[in-house]
């Protein structure tokens, strides 16, 4: 057990360091500051005091950046190693492929979560400076967002094993952003479409990654408060089940992958 933990910890550390060495997160933080600073100084029609739109834009940026980081983190776990052939010495070690996958996934997840923590620290700090409080809804929103990141990293990791880097990044972004914005409307689209399109949309609704479940932005911005504990637990369970399923498929793909 101790050996297993030490192996996993080494893999986690490697993945974690890689994200922070790339400086992606710092670039995103600078971009966020460049976008938010002029917005925070704007006084529409000369009226001051509107803060909800700032919170909304800031949260949208947090979501967009976390999606970028998550997909990138999952994407870079195996694909560059296959391309540079550094995967051969890794696989020659007395560590199973499943354990390598688990360790790398946990490392990517830790790095993506650390970036998310930084984004939320900045968001919460700026909100507190403006005198906005979120109550119990904020910890829930962060927890659900973290669950979404776990799902997104797993999806990106699986995609990186079965398709090229650019295709994987694009498809993951389309799938997750598409579900985030339109997931709840898919039954309407299915009802409006006919024939095979309707069935395809229904299938996407049934098995697609429902990113919209994790979105508590409107609750935070408009002060609706925390969500029902049962629903909260249901979303976490959904994320855990979906992520586990993705990782199982990824493990099976990696095990059968011919180098």
């Amino acid at each position: 057990m101790k050996f297993f933990l030490r192996q996993t910890a080494a893999l986690v550390k490697l993945s974690f360091l890689e994200l922070w060495r790339r400086n992606d997160v710092f670039a995103l933080v600078l971009l966020a500051l460049a976008l938010m600073a002029p917005l925070s100084m704007a006084t529409p029609f000369g009226a001051a005091g509107a803060s909800r739109c700032l919170d909304e834009v800031a949260l949208l940026l947090v979501w967009a950046f976390s999606l970028f980081v998550s997909i990138g983190a999952g994407q870079r776990l195996f694909r560059p190693e296959f391309e540079s052939r550094t995967v051969y010495p890794l696989f020659s070690k007395p560590v199973s492929r499943t354990r390598i996958l688990a360790g790398k996934y946990l490392g990517a997840l830790a790095s993506a979560w650390s970036a998310l923590a930084l984004f939320y620290a900045l968001f919460t700090g700026s909100a507190l400076l403006r005198g906005t409080g979120f109550g119990a809804a904020l910890p829930q929103a962060i927890a659900l967002h973290a669950a979404f990141v776990a799902l997104a990293v797993a999806l990106s990791l699986l995609g990186s094993l079965v398709m090229s880097a650019s295709a994987n990044s694009t498809l993951c972004a389309i799938a997750l952003a598409g579900m985030f914005f339109f997931g709840r409307r898919l039954p309407d689209f299915a009802a409006g479409a006919g024939g095979i399109v309707s069935w395809l949309v229904r299938a996407a609704y049934a098995i697609g990654p429902h990113a919209e479940f994790f979105d508590m932005r409107q609750r935070l911005v408009h002060g609706w408060g925390a969500i029902d504990p049962l629903a909260f637990a249901a979303v976490l369970a959904y994320a855990a089940a979906y992520t586990a399923a993705l990782l199982c498929v990824a493990a099976a793909v990696l095990k059968r992958k011919r180098l």
């Binding site: 529409p44 029609f45 009226a47 509107a50 039954p187 009802a191 508590m216 409107q218 609706w224 629903a231």
Partner: protein, 245 residues
């Protein structure tokens, strides 16, 4: 990176050159000068409408106004969500029942995570939260009269901020000197107050009436339905002022 910079510079230069051409040569829905108007064209009207919807959502405490949950709700700020029942009529309630009566767990989760438990509206000074979206709307399309008038209503009737509503209607008039509706609202700014300036209000309503008449050459049937209605309102206000005197 270098190619992207060259491409962006070329795009901006092209937009700047095109903006110098007479506007009649470009069938834009959104009139305006400058590179932005040329570059975005019709998209500006769509963006402006989207910003209006966002402001409407804020009025409802963040609820997407197109969602059928709001039903046949009519605002006290005088407009109605067209087609709101059609857009979101998936039949998914909080109990997660789908249209056919089957339990839909996804709909159940979504309803509990996103949907509000109460139906509430912004009121009083809190209504300032809508203004950034109206501002964005009129920046995208300065000729979106509905955005100007709704922003004025929010400032004047909901926030009770005379100075703010005066600034809004002043900017609206500067951007839309030929709008009968804006001219009418300029009159309302002077009339619908605790201490109305009846002379100035009468002048403003007369200006709105005259603007409508000048646009149609005296034949009201040539006016749009909205402009005819505004002309009627202007006459109504003029009658009220005459009675008060």
């Amino acid at each position: 990176m270098k190619h992207a910079a060259i491409f962006c510079a070329a795009a901006v230069a092209l937009a700047a050159i095109l903006s110098r051409f007479p506007q009649e040569r470009f069938p834009q829905a959104v009139r305006g000068e400058g590179a932005l108007a040329v570059a975005f064209g019709d998209a500006r009207a769509a963006i402006s409408s989207a910003m209006m919807r966002k402001a409407d959502g804020y009025f409802h405490g963040g609820v997407d106004a197109e969602c059928g949950r709001l039903g046949e709700h009519h605002h006290h700020h005088g407009h109605h969500h067209d087609g709101e029942e059609a857009d979101c009529g998936d039949g998914h309630g909080k109990d997660g029942s789908a249209g056919g009566g089957l339990f839909d767990p996804w709909a159940w989760i979504d309803a509990h995570v996103r949907a509000p438990d109460v139906h509430r509206h912004l009121e009083g000074k809190d209504s300032v939260e809508m203004l950034p979206w109206f501002w964005a709307s009129v920046k995208a399309d300065p000729h979106n009269i509905d955005a100007w008038t709704t922003a004025w209503y929010v400032a004047h009737n909901m926030m009770k901020d005379e100075d703010l509503s005066k600034r809004v209607i002043g900017e609206a008039l500067a951007s839309n000197p030929d709008s009968v509706e804006i001219a009418l609202y300029a009159g309302r700014q002077l009339y619908d107050t605790a201490n109305p300036d009846l002379d100035a209000a009468a002048k403003a309503f007369a200006a709105a009436r005259d603007l409508a008449l000048s646009k149609c050459g005296g034949d009201l049937s040539k006016l749009s339905e909205d402009e005819r209605r505004m002309h009627g309102f202007a006459l109504g206000y003029l009658e009220k002022i005459a009675e008060r005197r």
